[in-house]
């Protein structure tokens, strides 16, 4: 059975898939890859079903050793991955296409040059045990993924059996390599999914239930200002600083449902943007919700990055999402076709 070894760990690397949608009634977060589109695409490029488990790396990636000839794909943030083997100088590893990693070599991910989260799909998927229907790591409750925790140096991960498409692609790339000596990726890649504008990112939002309670003497709309993503930001949520929002009046409210993308306003006035590992309920006023289509951009925001909000209607949000899925389905089937063809 194929395995990979973690030689050096990144800042926060976890095993993720598409999460656990059906357990929020018992307090379990949705979880799963924060940038689900990048995750899906990486899987498809490696010939995997979209719900196979990938490694999500945050800001700084891992160094990983491959014991077998292995097909991989990397999407999301650009962590300048390089391939190292015993002989040559390190070679850059192309992203957004299937890539052969020869047995005994290492892939070294560095600090992200753009974006925040990089996804490594390995043909066959990371084969950690399925817990409550998913392989995703829940860091706060310490279950799922690899021992319920971040990956650390000396971890050893089992890899599942590649799909037929993944196996054929691997064979083809192996044949290419024996012909040319060097070439280990195909002559194509899929168009990368957009990363946030590094100067100031824009997230589209729909109004939250308490947006009309925002103080008219100050910022009336979250879209009036630019916020900075604080360093107190993780898979549960981001603190947004530099601007404070105030409510006309603040009444004690009982906890109600929240979703990834919900922007809550705690008493200190610094909004919290909830991400995939957020609790299913929250007791702070909800001033808006980042639309589903922009959660991937949100996942790629870095601490210190400026972000502003643009208001759209619920109708627009849902139609943008459907268009985006259509584009992704096309990209995924294109990737699938290329893999098969």
């Amino acid at each position: 059975m194929n395995r990979v070894h973690i030689l050096r760990s990144g800042l926060c690397s976890t095993v993720q898939d598409r999460g656990r949608a059906g357990f929020r009634h018992i307090g379990v977060p949705l979880g799963g890859a924060l940038d689900s589109m990048a995750h899906d695409l990486a899987n498809r490029l490696a010939g995997n079903p979209v719900d196979a488990a990938t490694i999500e790396m945050t800001l700084t990636g891992d160094e990983i050793e491959f014991t077998h000839d292995t097909l991989i794909a990397i999407t999301g943030a650009d962590m300048a991955p390089t391939l190292h083997d015993s002989s040559d100088l390190p070679q850059p590893v192309a992203q957004h296409c299937p890539r052969l990693i020869p047995a005994g070599s290492r892939v070294r991910f560095q600090a992200a040059r753009r974006g925040c989260r990089s996804y490594l799909a390995i043909a066959g998927g990371v084969d950690v045990p399925v817990v409550m229907g998913s392989r995703s790591t829940v860091l706060r409750a310490a279950f799922g993924g690899h021992g319920g925790r971040m990956l650390t140096a000396a971890d050893d991960l089992a890899i599942g059996t590649p799909s037929e498409a993944g196996r054929q692609t691997l064979e083809r790339l192996l044949a290419k390599r024996s012909g040319t000596g060097r070439q280990v990726h195909p002559h194509w890649f899929v168009r990368p999914i957009d990363l946030p504008n590094p100067d100031i990112a824009t997230l589209r939002i729909v109004p939250g239930a308490h947006m009309t309670c925002l103080c008219s003497s100050g910022l009336e709309r979250p879209s009036d200002a630019a916020f900075r993503v604080s360093s107190q930001s993780d898979r549960m949520g981001y603190r947004l600083i530099d601007q404070r929002l105030e409510l006309e009046h603040r009444e004690e409210m009982l906890s109600e449902g929240v979703i990834p993308g919900t922007i809550q306003l705690p008493p200190d006035g610094n909004p919290i943007l909830l991400m995939a590992d957020c609790a299913p309920t929250g007791g702070y006023p909800r001033i808006g919700h980042v639309i589903s289509a922009d959660l991937g951009i949100a996942a790629q925001l870095r601490p210190g990055q400026l972000v502003r909000f643009a208001m759209v209607t619920l109708d627009q949000a849902q139609s943008v999402f459907r268009q985006q899925r259509l584009m992704l389905t096309k990209a995924l089937s294109m990737a699938g076709l290329m893999i098969h063809g």
């Binding site: 307090g27 817990v131 409750a141 109600e256 449902g257 609790a279 109708d315 849902q318």
Partner: protein
């Protein structure tokens, strides 16, 4: 009473009974949650109860808001009124030993009681699970005697041990896994409320009735050893 149906972002809805009292809202929410969950249409992912509301999660790639709103509203019109949700009655052992009960004295002092009074009051009431939330398996319990209502701590603890039984305002609850928390800790249960490897993973459900049974330190250790 007709609940309100409101969008929660572009992929969920909140159905709320904000004006009903606690017990009436809980019954309405239980019935509606069960009914909606059994009659899910393609694109509806899950239904989860909260305090005075429930949340419906849906795939916005498959369903538009108006379709979801109509489905919820039609379904709510056909909720069987007589539906009795089966509830469990459970006894939860709690050790109020000072080693675990970090805030027991503070709670007693706040109400001019001694610690024995607090334990007696806390373990002499029936509690109803209003909702599971905050963290996996954490039950919010209604029914705390008013003599024990105690505001949350001014600054939350960074780490509350799993099993801690605590008071936050008018509610009591059990930290099902170790987590940060601001409630006043008055004891610890050896019962594991949430275990991802167990099926079902969560011991309690919304609507369950529980009672706390005081145990001493020896019984706590014995229970732990047996399980």
């Amino acid at each position: 009473m007709t609940p309100s149906i409101e969008p929660l972002g572009d992929s969920a809805a909140i159905v709320a009974w904000r004006l009903l009292d606690e017990a009436a809202a809980r019954r309405a929410i239980q019935n509606a949650t069960e009914h909606l969950d059994h009659n899910r249409i393609d694109g509806v992912i899950a239904v989860a109860p909260a305090f005075r509301s429930l949340t419906v999660y849906y795939e916005c790639g498959k369903l538009a808001w108006l379709e979801v709103e109509k489905w919820i509203s039609d379904s709510l019109n056909s909720v069987p009124i007589t539906l009795e949700t089966p509830q469990q009655q459970l006894k939860i052992p709690v050790c109020y030993d000072p080693e675990f009960a970090l805030d027991l004295t503070a709670v007693a002092d706040a109400h001019d009681l001694n610690t024995g009074d607090v334990i007696r009051l806390h373990s002499n009431a029936n509690y109803v699970v209003q909702m599971i939330g905050f963290s996996p398996g954490f039950p919010y319990l209604a029914g705390l005697p008013s003599q024990l209502h105690t505001p949350r701590r001014a600054s939350p603890r960074i780490q509350v041990p799993a099993g801690s039984v605590a008071i936050g305002g008018a509610q009591t609850g059990i930290y099902s896994s170790k987590s940060p928390g601001g409630w006043n800790i008055i004891g610890r249960t050896p019962v594991q409320l949430f275990d991802p490897q167990r099926n079902p993973p969560c011991l309690l459900r919304s609507g369950d009735v529980i009672r706390f049974i005081p145990i001493d330190r020896q019984q706590f250790d014995d229970f732990r050893e047996r399980t």
